[in-house]
Symmetry: D2
Subunit: 452 residues, 4 copies
């Protein structure tokens, strides 16, 4: 048996390639749309990707499942469980719909389907047995977003992002059952989860890529709580707010998804900037001089996790930055199904710039003590609940373009997050909303904690 | 002024980027469809590609001119000369049609249009003056396929490839006039041609990328012949046969050309091989074991110059090789406007292979002396004319799929070219035509010359 | 905790980086000399490599342990066990020498030392506990060459390669004890071995990178045999012959190792070829035309596993091939401590070439049946034992330059291996030994099996 | 004949490869120490670099001439002219020392030596004739730092950088003669200079890589002045100050130069920062938070042109930045012969940071008008001469670590250059010199000109 995992850092996402050398067949589990890396790995081992399976309808990225069929001719395997709302649509004719107890055979490797709802109603896991290697016992389990290293999947994405009322509660209940059910599986099983550290699909994912069931039983909080109510409370409390693009992902992953296309971006002139402009430069460079009302999301590995808040799938956007960054940003946006990037303005060509005001921690404290300035906290509600400055209002940075901001736009407004990253993003959004005098508290609440 | 040339080795093609730093504008001359390199060079200098011009309707590659407009919004400049058959069609509304004496202004750089037909009826050249640099005299001239380093463009492509009768003669006449006319230009002009060594657009192109008019006047054969008839004879004699794809290029470059798309190729199964299969592996590897009837064009820098003979724009093809080579091959095919590659079979997966018979020079000579075997010479007619074995027939390697091959397919057939490269390509083509016993004379006529 | 594994394909070797985000410290376990990949991974996570540990004195590659100290200033941790013959020499002053029960602390991660001799007398394993992650139980174990996925380390390398008599037997005994001892550890432990599929350090390593102890207890043959004698017999039977370079590795890894240097290789002229020349081209290309007596080891991922047989650490060598391949080959040679590459001859420049004779399976069978030709089988002794042609002699391909070859060099000699890869390497070696008429049986014993 | 030019952007330097396909030989002219690009280009054409020549002893980069001999075995050709002070030392035995009228033969290409002193006393040019191409007239001339596109080489580097008194005047005189002498050469000659736009070896180099002699005669200022005195005045006026590292380059290029070595840089801890620290981050990032007294030279294509001012060849230095940038910076430093980089501190690990004060143009003007603040202009003397603020002092940014700074370090000090790049570099240097309150005028004199 051949086994390889693929970690996509921007999405903190894991896909898996499993092959049988004896027959040359291979399966890809939870693929992204960018297939080249999977193909090359298979080719290096003399394998052909003949099967593709998915643990559930993903909410956080555009699934590559259909592309594996369209480009490689692979047979697709998806969940048939979870009720009518969660049926895959527009699938190839020979798609196999799976229920508990079904088996996928990839040469001499078998994957047994286990129903593990909770994160979503249709979620399944795949228990792998390497029969070709002579084993009669399973080696590990692909858990998708059911079981992570140190956590379980959150059940509230549908309710939060897709506004499907009541689904959080039933999901939490399902998750409790799935966890209990998994206790019967042997300790030595490897756990191959759908996400690693950094994903919005769970709240405390570890930075270790693989675990074992026995280890999780001893360490994962979800296995320590025997009471369903307590479990549900713990599971649904303090989950970070999911990005707004999640509901769109759910939809296209369920219904259909267009073929990925060439995402390269071409330069535009200043006059062609769209209503929504993402500035890809480092935050200090942006704050020193930028086009008013543009949103600064620096091109780093975490770009995806911020940009999903601002993308509107019905509208175009443009970038400010270099060709290299713009091409990479567009590629990451296509991973979340957005393909309306209309070009980028090379950073050297920006005109009529403004600079942002920044205030150091000490200086802010002095002002804060003297008078009571307007202060906006752009961290999440749960962070705010854990501690915040007096006399502040909280609006999550990702919602600044749509939510009511309870301050006078003509007055000076101090803004902060935890470390200065999200408040940097907020600056342009507040300019766009008409605020005239925004001052960024440079090092955020982290530097203020305990000092005020 | 900023100046940069771009050499595409597979096509032996040159494009030029010229910019004016004072205004930030730039022009690209004779662009390919792959624009990224041009864009990055411009961006590095703080320039924007605002203009694009073409010296003539190209026959040897798919022009990127329209893409520069579609992707970058640049204004296009093309020839309005040469008569009704040579009008660009379906161009953007603001396209500028040029005649002798017109001037393109790119910031403070000017390009004066000079009518230089011969290679084609509508060919123009651009005389560059760097006014921004303070010069009142021209610096150089973009000659397209009029004037090369050491040669002039051939006038016979239309007649040969597009079967337009009589055009060779009128082209040769035009070329004579264009050469005479250019003698009035100053010696110190730089010559920036449209092709370098290796192109099929001229017969003796040098491997020096730039020349000067004064140097060409002294060394280029075309400036040494004062008599029109002698010039025409020299120009039209012994030109290599143009690849069959040239006529298609002419057509799409004149009429329109679809947007370049993602050319990546995906693996297929053995059963999905098409009628035409190109095997991309080194010739020795192919000859040791290959699928019968597949055509071996190894993936090297000269791939383009061979594959154009076999491509049928109405039919699909597939490759045999690695993903890396297949992707590169498909990219080169898109440069000549072909985008029907349906996948590649990884080389490890080929089945039911045959090997080619190869004979060393000495051994062949022995056989040749004893009896009179069937021998096919797949070099060009002009090479054959310069010397060949007795009792051979000549059919150019690129025409083996369509022309009559005057031998009995059941009998042993010895095949050779000059060095063994083209006969290697011929092997699969002859198998495809039903020849049962093909023997490749390993080192070709080069090793036989003077010994037989 | 942060965890990342690194797989070096040419050596089938695994190194591991483990870090504690709370303190920013990290440890690298069993590093190669090429550190860049480790450094970048650490830097991406905000970690500094402050510790480096080794499970044992490696025999199959040049250890990077000392380099981690010299270049990064990390503290080194090595085994103090196994007796006087196995003491690391010339180590930095602050090196920590480990015995059973010692603990390495890397921030809040701890590694407990377990003595697991067998592969070598000083071998230790590291049991990892993620205390920073809140766990009081171990997560996994770095087993080095004690325990692999599906196998255990071979105990005979010292005797075979370094000619240390009696060590195989005592090693096998140790290994039995180490296996028994490990049974007390919990099933849920992850197993992080020192090698994956393709290594010469074990005979049946799986292609799955990670396992669990519970799974190995059920599937690994070493856990199924309770009888020491039977275990020892199984362990020491049919191990592949270790490459000759292993003894040199042992020595430099124990005593000292020079700093890695720039390995780039420069072109030479034909006259500068050394006595030992490695030709890096594909086997079919080599066999078609090569310099007599040069050894063909194509530049693939398995280059390392073949070249180690031919390298003499006291003598220079040169390559034939491209700059790209020569640079990569020299890099791989430096990984096994060899740095005497004196240049490469570009393949285009080879002169006075010979071609190898190749025979197809069918044709060989005919000859074989008619008369009794000289046949040399260059597979390993254990492959030969499992089945071979009548009237053949066996000499391993890697020993052809030194061992007696019991045939008349003036007579035709047929040579084969299993698939044609190793017999391709043998061709040049036999030429070097003076054989005049070597004929390669193209598809090897694999194609003959059952047909003769 | 084969011809290829190589442009190194950081050094604005040009090297040339010329080969003869008929004999397979090639010459490299004015090589850098990094040879790989030259080798690959030669190999692609089936050429071997058998000769290497130098136009003069370079002052601005570490010559690769000796490396071409040491690594490739090429024969070296250098000037024997200019007097005893300008003799190459420690050269290989078979080095050819050239004087006017000598000829280098590279296969069928010939290079005739012309003595063209001025930039340096020993400078020579090479007049190329492509005899293999059938020409009896020269094609072009390698002019080194004698003749550039639009300029001639400056004669004052020795006096300025190496403090050799009187050499400027005699050099200017030589240059006048060299220019006059070159007028006899034909107009159609191509000019292949040693530098392009951006070099410190001339003051107004164009961004066009190649010119012709006829064009230069008409446009280059040096050909317009017939009077020697006027020429000398023009030539020696307003030359930018040469970086301090030039004198060291002269010395090692004349006397000897060690073999280039692996320049990779490894991470260090904060405590290991050296006295001189170069911070490689973008200026806005540096100014927002940096280690006091570190010098900010962002890692861009112009890194080389700034860093040469601060490097002390007798002392170590360290970087702050990423591994990628540190590796690139060290590589560029080795191009100017500096190899004492002792590591880099990853930017995430900087501690005890300070931020720089920045003032916008409008705000500064207000202050400037009210009172008379201390202002330091860090542009060059010649820029200062062309216009500056009242009541300022001028000290070139590159000399801030050594020269007297005529202000009170306890008082606020405003600093500016032309656009904010060099004043950004000055900030750390002023901190290092003990200035307590440095305020950077963000957009420099460019934004102030005409407004004050």
């Amino acid at each position: 048996m051949y086994f390889k995992s693929f970690f996509d850092k921007p999405l903190a996402q894991m896909a898996y390639l499993v092959g049988c050398q004896q027959t040359g067949e291979a399966i890809i589990i939870d693929p992204l749309r960018e297939l080249d890396e999977y193909i090359k790995a298979a080719e290096d081992e003399g394998l052909r990707i003949t099967h593709a399976a998915e643990t559930h309808i993903h909410a956080d990225f555009a699934s590559g499942l259909r592309d594996v069929h369209r480009k490689l001719g692979a047979k697709l395997y998806v969940s048939d469980l979870g009720g009518d709302d969660w049926k895959y649509q527009n699938m190839p004719d020979d798609t196999v719909y799976l229920t508990e107890g079904d088996t996928i055979e990839v040469g001499n490797v078998t994957l047994d389907v286990i129903f593990t709802p909770g994160h979503t109603p249709e979620s399944i896991s795949f228990l792998l047995t390497d029969k070709g290697g002579g084993s009669s016992v399973p080696m590990g389990i692909f858990t998708g977003d059911f079981l992570f290293v140190g956590d379980v999947g959150r059940p509230d994405l549908l309710e939060e992002a897709a506004k499907m009322e009541g689904t959080t509660d039933s999901g939490a209940k399902d998750m409790f059952k799935s966890v209990q059910k998994s206790k019967d599986l042997p300790d030595y099983l490897q756990i191959w989860p759908g996400h690693g550290a950094g994903s919005a699909c769970g709240k405390s994912l570890g930075a270790v890529p693989v675990s074992t069931l026995g280890y999780e039983k001893k360490n994962n909080w979800a296995y320590q709580i025997e009471d369903e109510q307590a479990f549900k409370k713990e599971l649904t409390t303090d989950q970070p707010e999911p990005p707004t693009y999640f509901s769109h992902m759910k939809k296209i992953n369920k219904e259909n998804i267009p073929l990925a296309k060439d995402t390269r971006v071409y330069p535009i002139a200043s006059s062609q900037l769209t209503d929504l402009v993402i500035d890809l430069r480092p935050k200090e460079v942006f704050q020193s001089a930028h086009v008013k009302g543009t949103i600064n999301i620096p091109m780093t590995d975490t770009f995806s996790s911020y940009v999903g808040w601002f993308v509107n799938y019905e509208e175009d956007l443009t970038f400010i930055g270099s060709k290299e960054d713009a091409d990479e940003a567009a590629k990451q946006l296509q991973q979340i199904g957005y393909d309306r990037v209309k070009g980028y303005l090379p950073a050297e060509e920006i005109e009529d710039t403004v600079s942002s005001l920044t205030i150091e921690t000490d200086e802010f404290i002095e002002i804060y003590k003297k008078k009571s300035p307007d202060i906006l906290d752009v961290r999440s509600k749960s962070e705010w609940d854990e501690g915040h400055l007096d006399n502040t209002e909280q609006v999550l940075f990702g919602k600044l373009l749509e939510e009511d901001i309870p301050f006078d736009a003509e007055e000076p407004l101090f803004v902060h997050c935890e470390t200065g990253v999200r408040s940097g993003i907020a600056l342009g959004a507040l300019e766009k909303r008409g605020f005239k005098h925004v001052i960024n508290i440079k090092d955020g609440y982290e530097a203020l904690r305990g000092r005020i």
